[in-house]
Subunit: 344 residues, 2 copies
């Protein structure tokens, strides 16, 4: 055939559609979707994209397959990565790639051997408002950065979530699952490494899911002493226009920027917005700069050894940062008079 093919092994989150659609844009076709557990989502996606659902994952690791996409349950992604390494297939996983130190150690072995390339859907670097902010920072339009604050509220839609989502061991929990983007962005925006994190993962809802925590609140110190604030929750009201009114506030000595990642319907837009003011420019929306490529195209460049925005270093450092943070913060029932360990 000569047609470029990819496959999906693990289909538990519709984030995988990002990868599928971007691979299609790049001229690839999908050989099949394999899902070991609940196939509800896999069936929906298979039908939507007219992709075969296959019974045997090994059938998706043959010679014609160039690359694998994976949105398995978070704790099983590392198994799929190892499987792909056995068959010499580079793999793009949804975030987070790993949910515990054991998974990270296994991932580091694979990265070290470098037989395959592993990508992760750190999609926020390719978000037009975030990408634009990064260009502004690079151009010195914010001066020296003095603070970064990020808010990442999300809709829970509990009834539509699979059981594993509510299980800390399988999902990784709110900090690992959501803030992996933020830890990556902190490194990217500042060019500094993460030094330490302190904060709290709080549980005040859904006692029927004892290891599901609904808020996270972290102060993250960077290598130069800069302290930043991260926050995420599963409390976006169902009537909100967006799954999550994400915001990023970056303060520098020469300018200030606010990103409204899902836009602002009161400004007539639910598309991303970057607002900026400086010593020279009044507070206004700025024209967004589109990233040079999709995250999938960027990963293919990385596989080919060409310049890419994301590399193995970003994958490992973001993963390590969230795991270290998750170990450093307190897990607490609220209201509570005592601390509780997550049931991991």
């Amino acid at each position: 055939m000569g047609e470029k093919k990819f496959a999906i092994i693990g289909c538990q989150h519709n984030h995988i559609e990002i990868f599928i659609e971007q691979m299609y844009q790049l001229g690839y076709s999908c050989a099949g979707i394999f899902e070991e557990h609940d196939r509800t989502l896999a069936a929906v996606i298979a039908e939507k994209y007219e992709i075969p659902l296959v019974e045997n994952k090994l059938s998706l690791l043959g010679e014609t397959i160039e690359i694998v996409g994976c949105a398995s349950m978070n704790h099983e992604k590392i198994d799929v990565i190892e499987l792909c390494e056995q068959y010499g297939k580079s793999i793009m996983v949804d975030k987070p790639a790993v949910v515990n130190q054991d998974g990270l150690a296994r991932l580091e072995v694979i990265i070290e051997r470098n037989r395959i390339k592993v990508g992760m859907l750190l999609t926020e670097r390719f978000h037009p408002a975030i990408y634009t902010l990064k260009q502004y920072i690079n151009q010195g339009k914010l001066g020296e950065l003095v603070h970064i604050g990020m808010r990442k509220p999300h809709k829970l839609n509990a009834s539509s979530r699979p059981a594993w989502f509510f299980n800390k061991e399988q999902c990784g929990g709110i900090l690992i699952d959501l803030l992996i983007h933020d830890y990556d962005l902190l490194r990217w925006f500042t060019g500094k490494e993460i030094k330490s994190s302190a904060g709290l993962v709080g549980k005040s809802v859904l006692p029927e899911h004892p290891t599901f925590y609904n808020t996270v609140n972290v102060q993250v110190e960077l290598d130069d002493g800069l302290l930043t604030q991260l926050y995420a929750d599963w409390h976006t009201p169902s009537k909100s226009w967006t799954w999550g009114d994400g915001r990023i506030f970056v303060t520098g000595t020469k300018g200030f920027a606010e990103l409204r990642l899902s836009g602002d319907p009161l400004l007539g837009s639910s598309t991303p917005i970057m607002l900026y003011a400086s010593e020279e420019e009044e507070w206004s929306k700025v024209d967004l700069i589109q990233p040079h490529a999709t995250i999938t195209a960027d990963f293919l460049s990385f596989i080919k050894g060409e310049a890419s925005l994301l590399t193995h270093e970003e994958l490992i450092k973001a993963s390590r940062a969230v795991l270290d943070a998750d170990a450093a913060v307190l897990y607490k029932l609220i209201p509570s008079s005592k601390e509780s360990e997550p049931h991991v």
Copy 2:
């Protein structure tokens, strides 16, 4: 004459105009302004309101004076409070009332004796958007609160600031000076007491003012374990429409609110805005509820023994909270490889 009179002892910050104007609205006239140190601002305000500048502060403590207003240098306000107690005059001070534990102890003695009433310009409780949010919380429109985040950026306008502003010992510094509002609001919104604070006060600018720090970043834990995030800086760009684009984000189990305290010029308004979404209501601006009285009228009610929003308890607890927080956080030069103590 029978005319109701007040006086100003200490005029180092134009916040005192809030008190002057509200006293005028209440039918009082001002007997005079006394300022011991630099009288630049005192002269401007005296001329603007046609108030005599007096040479002897004791002339403003006679029988005809019902109440004193004070915006002295922050570390000297407690001296004026003690002076007023000697003369049996209740006093409204700009915030912060005290800047160190010694000042707080002296204030507590006066509060305990209760010969006079002491008020403090915790004006944010009377801000229409903040007041409205409090009513929404009271009415259960946010459900149980799961997070509060507050941002308090400010313009520095360094050339217009008096020397004492840049001196930690005299001013109290960014945490005490600015976050006293936030600590008060945390107590007010939640009905909980402050348990602990952790964070950083950072210095990355103005080496010529060695004890001036420009950012503060704190996680504040309330008695029930709720963790909240506070941030303030002196980095609002000069081209911003406002002296400070203050924001308050409150997330509850039933609703979410964002306050844009200086409005949003892109929404056509530089007046305060409260945005709200819930399980029933889409994201929209809500009608603001005006507070029942000005902070000055509220203080006069308190003096008369009538119901008031602010009492001595709020004054002491907000003051103690910021002093405790200031002692708990790290002071750090950024970029820095080591911690530095503020030169206090």
